[in-house]
């Protein structure tokens, strides 16, 4: 559940929440790292739950020697009050068999906090695309009806493609099978979306088709698309689309090479 880190907790009512889904390539989580790091967001609370594998480490967004020694945990909430933006970062996988519980926890937290809208950054296996999805942009969106109502013009302007429904049994010509939403590798994305539709919550999903590997370019792509919509970086003192890479991204593929190897 959400535990505030502040002595006098800020209200997050009316804020926009951006959160990642733990999905293929961790693209959503990397994108969220870029947002928190660039906008210098402050931590306002923790999601303390038994649904995530525990993890602890020093400040991943440290800028100097003063703020290095600050303990950070598996799931935390950050805030930029001037932009009315709240961000949830999830750093560890969801424990097996706890996906549904975690999804329900998040949905009830979204409801009780009173966010004006929620954006889930996610990804899906590129190799599972069907023929239509192989062409064009790798970005897809989904929006629940309450959010769709106000965003139709914006979506037209951005030219985004809605995530296609696919047939349950590809290849079978049985016309009675209705096409359904399928997000392979997306973790709890589909669950969050369907639960939010059922609960009438304004929620959007932004996902990229990608594969495991060096997903830093995918993270930049996703966060730039998000910026096209939410205009997070349109402040005059920021260069356009200049995202700050956090210090925790060093050595993503292991330590330095021992010279004795050569």
């Amino acid at each position: 559940m959400f535990i505030s880190a502040e002595t006098s907790p800020h209200s997050l009512t009316g804020f926009t929440l951006v959160m990642p889904a733990v999905a293929v390539g961790n693209v959503g989580q990397l994108a969220v790292d870029l947002i928190v790091s660039t906008l210098n967001m402050t931590r306002v609370g923790y999601i303390h739950t038994d649904c995530l594998i525990p993890m602890a480490g020093n400040n991943p967004y440290a800028t100097g020697s003063k703020d290095t020694e600050e303990l950070h945990t598996a799931a935390e909430v950050y805030m930029a009050a001037d932009m009315k933006l709240a961000v949830l970062q999830i750093r560890t996988p969801i424990i097996q068999r706890k996906s549904k519980t975690f999804r329900q926890l998040i949905v009830s937290w979204i409801k009780s906090s009173g966010f004006s809208r929620t954006v889930v950054l996610s990804s899906s296996h590129a190799y599972q695309r069907d023929d239509r999805q192989l062409q064009g942009t790798t970005l897809r969106y989904l929006m629940t009806p309450p959010l769709l109502k106000g965003c139709e013009d914006v979506l037209k302007e951005l030219g985004w493609r809605e995530m296609e429904r696919v047939s349950a049994f590809p290849g079978l010509t049985d016309g009675s099978a209705e096409p359904r939403l399928y997000i392979p590798g997306g973790g709890i994305t589909k669950g969050l979306y369907t639960a939010s539709c059922a609960e009438d919550l304004p929620l959007a999903v932004l996902l990229l088709f990608c594969s495991e590997g060096d997903n830093i370019p995918d993270a930049f792509t996703l966060v730039n698309h998000l910026n096209d919509w939410l205009h997070l970086l349109d402040k005059p003192n920021n260069e356009p689309n200049k995202w700050k890479i956090p210090t925790s991204w060093t050595l993503l593929f292991g330590s330095g090479i021992p010279p004795a190897l050569f």
């Binding site: 303390h48 525990p54 602890a56 945990t73 068999r97 993503l252 330590s255």
Partner: protein, 203 residues
């Protein structure tokens, strides 16, 4: 380290235990089920000092509840926690290649409520802690309990006297609460022997 240097002296009473069951603790005939518990010892002279000796494996999905249960039984006011853990130096990420002469070494992590000078270097990015130390640190961070975790990176697989000694400076800082006993060689020999049996591949 705890068995050799701390519990070696006679001043500790076993006051309780916490048991977990997971697929890794098979009760073999002749082996008592106490092998799957974590035992709590209280100092006879200083009743406010507790040592928890964790000898069993706690699965990922049990970590949170173990921590909640254990801390639920402790008085939170004035509580100070120190966690000792270790892993292989291969898990330590650094830009400059670490020659093996620097291992074993200590790194620390502390919660926001923890004050006082650090006794060793803090854990640098991008290294993180997982498992039981992380579960304890997360719990204490969220509940504002001063906690420090000392993690030893070792280049040797089994326990040995040099690696075990790495923690000595840490407890020197706690000397008021815990008297460091002179190392009991029999206890260490028992640990070393237990791991030797599996390593006859490299004789």
């Amino acid at each position: 380290f705890v068995s050799v240097y701390v519990l070696g002296s006679a001043g500790w009473d076993a006051v309780g235990h916490a048991s977990v069951w997971n697929e890794r603790n098979r009760v073999v005939a002749g082996q008592s089920s106490e092998d799957s518990t974590c035992v709590f010892y209280r100092n006879k002279d200083s009743q406010s000092v507790l040592v928890c000796q964790v000898t069993c494996y706690i699965a990922e999905d049990q970590l949170f509840h173990w921590t909640e249960k254990v801390f639920g039984c402790l008085q939170q006011r004035g509580l100070n926690v120190t966690v000792l853990s270790d892993s292989s130096v291969a898990e330590y990420k650094t830009a400059d290649y670490f020659s093996s002469s620097s291992a074993p070494f200590l790194r620390s992590l502390r919660t926001g409520a923890s004050i006082g000078p650090p006794l060793c270097q803090t854990l640098e990015q991008p290294n993180i802690m997982t498992g039981l130390p992380a579960a304890v640190l997360s719990h204490c961070q969220v509940h504002h309990i001063p906690t420090i975790s000392y993690h030893c990176y070792s280049d040797v697989i089994g326990p040995n006297s040099i690696t075990v000694e790495t923690y000595k400076p840490v407890l020197a800082g706690l000397a008021k609460s815990i008297q460091l006993a002179s190392p009991n060689p029999d206890v260490l020999r028992k640990f070393v022997k237990a791991t030797d049996i599996q390593s006859n591949l490299y004789i």
